[in-house]
Amino acid sequence: MTKGRHNGDTGHRRTVAVDAMGGDRAPGEIVAGALQAARELDVQVLLVGRRDEIAPLLPSGEMPEGVELVEASEVISMDDEPLAAVRQMKDSSIMRAFEAVRDGRAHAMVSAGNTGAVTTGAVLRLGRFKGVPSPAIAVPIPVPGHHPQLLVDGGAVVDPAPERLVQYALMGREYAQARWDIATPRIGLLSNGEEAGKGDELRKAAFPLLQSVPGFLGNVEGRDFMHHDVVDVIVTDGFTGNVALKSLEGALRAVSSVVFGVFEQSPEGREASKLVMAPLLAAANDFSPDVVGGAVLLGIKGITVISHGSSSARAITNAVQIAADCARRGMVERIRKAVADAG
């Protein structure tokens, strides 16, 4: 495999480097998900991490076909301070996974580890596009029965300049077009009202700039999340984006607790659950972060998929699929061009 081949490669199979040590359930669930991806998807997997912890998790103790080990002796924990960790742990699984992408051994990387360290590592090892001071986190929001919405930024930059929101819109637009085949994604600016003048200083300054972006429909509100009929890409700063994400998670948890709790409260409820529990669980599956898939760093010269910290094997398999799909669809080049064309 030669360096640089991947950027323009139109071949079939893609290679994804998986940080085997990152996440609350690493390495067990991560390795299981990566092996499943290698079995079921048209991908090759590089498992990056400590040999002595990964080897016992392999069937027969050997690497299956389509899986290769890249050794890394250090592990950046979820609690480590990102900048210091990335600087000091150069032999960490996160940094070695990025180096596999940088050196052309992999088309993309997946990690369920420390988000700050992954973001910093991406900048240091893969680099940013010209004009992008730091990456944004694009988070898929589940929409039952439809493709997800995309929230940009999910928490990378808490106080961006107004111009950054235009970048978020352009990059999110490319992502939605490429991954979900939406011809003209509808783009909204998250605010506290639909009217153009609503919002804080950031939103008031960003609104007129965003009007040059094809598909921009104006302000959207928190209630427009998880509905397919209004907006495909929701743009905001990382502070409100992260608050919105966590609010959605909390609300979903509360609703599911109420709904499933009803079935335990009475004999009639328990009887009813026999009829509706299976379809309810199937419907709830649509909201699972393990199913919706990982977040993607936008503005980086390589594909980086961040799976949530408590990722299961299924979440990792899905994240690998997203990473490979982004590679197949030329996501990096598309986003680079979108940012460059905007000047």
Binding site: L83, A84, R87, V123, P133, S134
Partner: protein
């Protein structure tokens, strides 16, 4: 190493280090080199955040580490480097300590 391929490198002085820092910082921040003076504050004048400074450190370590074995920046010292001049003085001192400074 054969004598004819061995090129003795001159030690780097403060002006060389300043030029290198200014050039790399301009690339990272995407600003004109002319805006980067010795007196400039990384945060207040150049709007360089922690990530940008770490990028600078990594680039400088890679470049100077090639010519001066053992050159590195101690992360604990970064918090004390507020201006370009302080960074230049620091790098010059570290180069001297590593045996490659002027």
């Amino acid at each position: 190493m054969p004598a004819e391929t061995h090129v003795e490198q001159q030690p780097l002085g403060p002006d060389d280090v300043f030029s290198l820092l200014r050039e790399r910082l301009a690339e990272i921040l995407e600003i004109d080199e002319a805006n980067i003076t010795r007196e400039a504050s990384f945060r207040d004048d150049l709007d360089a955040d922690s990530l940008a400074l770490i990028e600078l450190v990594e680039v400088i370590e890679a470049e100077l580490g090639e010519r001066t074995v053992g050159f590195s920046v101690d992360d604990e010292d970064l918090a004390e480097l507020h201006t370009v001049r302080e960074a230049v003085d620091y790098v010059v001192a570290r180069l001297a300590a590593a045996g490659g400074g002027g």
